[in-house]
């Protein structure tokens, strides 16, 4: 009876949450501090920011297996913050520190390009969000002493990463 009541109560409180658990381990530390989670649009990939050798570094993993995926351009310019992924994870946008200034960048995992996105007026981003199709970017900035969100167009700069699209030109090839 008590169990039935508990089930009913929890069922009312959380009718949709089916399964929850920790993010997959990264493999090198059991008590890893992990922040700023970001999922690809299809939920297949997880990006998060972890402390590695005292530096906040973005980590990209397959959610199901925990496999760590390489990010060729992002082994420096720490601290990293605010990662954001497109539908299939072709694009990873984040904020890096470059020459004493924060800069939004996008790593294209398909073409292996890094795209720095300097802001007009030399302003610096605080947080960002990339639209899943890769066609818009929202940035949180500081302007006149207050937070301000601005939206920018990426059409013509990035190809669309569609929900059912192809991540790699050769799907059978290993990820870069």
């Amino acid at each position: 009876m008590v169990v039935a009541c508990a089930l009913l109560i929890s069922g009312c409180a959380v009718p949709w949450a089916r399964r929850s658990g920790p993010a997959p381990p990264a493999g090198w530390s059991s008590n890893l501090s992990r922040q700023d989670p970001a999922l690809s649009g299809d939920g297949r990939l997880l990006a998060s920011v972890v402390e590695r050798q005292g530096r906040s570094t973005v980590l990209l993993q397959e959610r199901a297996s925990g496999r760590v995926l390489p990010l060729r351009h992002l082994s420096r310019w720490q601290p990293h913050s605010s990662p954001s992924l497109s539908w299939r994870g072709r694009y990873l946008a984040l904020i890096v520190q470059r020459g004493g200034r924060r800069l939004a960048v996008i790593e294209d995992r398909l073409t292996n390009r890094l795209l720095p996105l300097p802001l007009p007026g030399g302003r610096e981003p605080v947080r960002l969000s990339l639209a899943a199709d890769g066609q818009r970017l929202a940035l949180q900035l500081v302007a006149a002493g207050r937070w301000r969100v601005e939206v920018f167009e990426l059409g013509g700069v990035l190809e669309v990463d569609p929900p059912g699209g192809q991540l790699l030109r050769n799907p059978g090839a290993p990820l870069p």
């Binding site: 993010a23 992990r34 690809s40 939004a104 795209l115 970017l137 937070w147 939206v151 929900p163």
Partner: protein
């Protein structure tokens, strides 16, 4: 006197020179200049302070406010106007993080209320906000919903350590 043919050739050279100069300047800046969306940004400016953006599909969720009173706002970027979120914002709650799916149907939220920090999921078609208890218990801070609305990742403080929980939603 310069012939028209030579003038044409000079103009072409000038055009090529300007193109090369622009390419050099862009390269020297080390990046692709961002193109703002003026109409949307002007409207966002009118809402006062805004932070914690979440873009997905045609939707932008964010936390906006004036005079220290903040609320969750969902903007339809195609129409450039906010949509109503009945039952989501409360005067006694302080939103901390927000995320929207690509359909604009589900909005995940971390908020402080009555001295507690809680994770909740709002469904726009039902106009209902449901708490999502964390197991084991912890204090949520940053939330992100996958664009398909099926998985939620949340940054949680447990025992002085930041962790990430993943919650699958039907």
């Amino acid at each position: 006197m310069t012939s028209p043919q030579r003038r044409g050739s000079g103009t072409a050279s000038l055009g090529l020179g300007l193109t090369l100069l622009m390419a050099f300047l862009l390269g020297a800046c080390g990046g692709t200049p961002l193109r703002p969306l003026p109409a949307i940004n002007q409207r966002l400016e009118q809402t006062g302070s805004s932070r914690e953006p979440s873009l997905s599909g045609r939707w932008l969720a964010l936390i906006s406010g004036r005079n220290g009173r903040e609320r969750v706002e969902l903007v339809d970027l195609e129409l450039n106007r906010p949509v109503p979120l009945p039952g989501l914002n409360r005067p006694d709650a302080q939103p901390l993080s927000v995320s929207v799916d690509a359909a604009g149907e589900r909005v995940a939220l971390v908020r402080q209320r009555d001295g507690r920090t809680e994770l909740a999921l709002y469904r726009r078609s039902r106009q209902s906000l449901q708490p999502l208890p964390l197991e084991p218990p912890g204090v949520p801070r940053q939330v992100q919903l996958s664009a398909d609305g099926r998985v939620l990742a949340v940054q949680v403080s447990r025992g002085g350590l930041w962790q990430v929980d993943l919650i699958e939603l039907p």
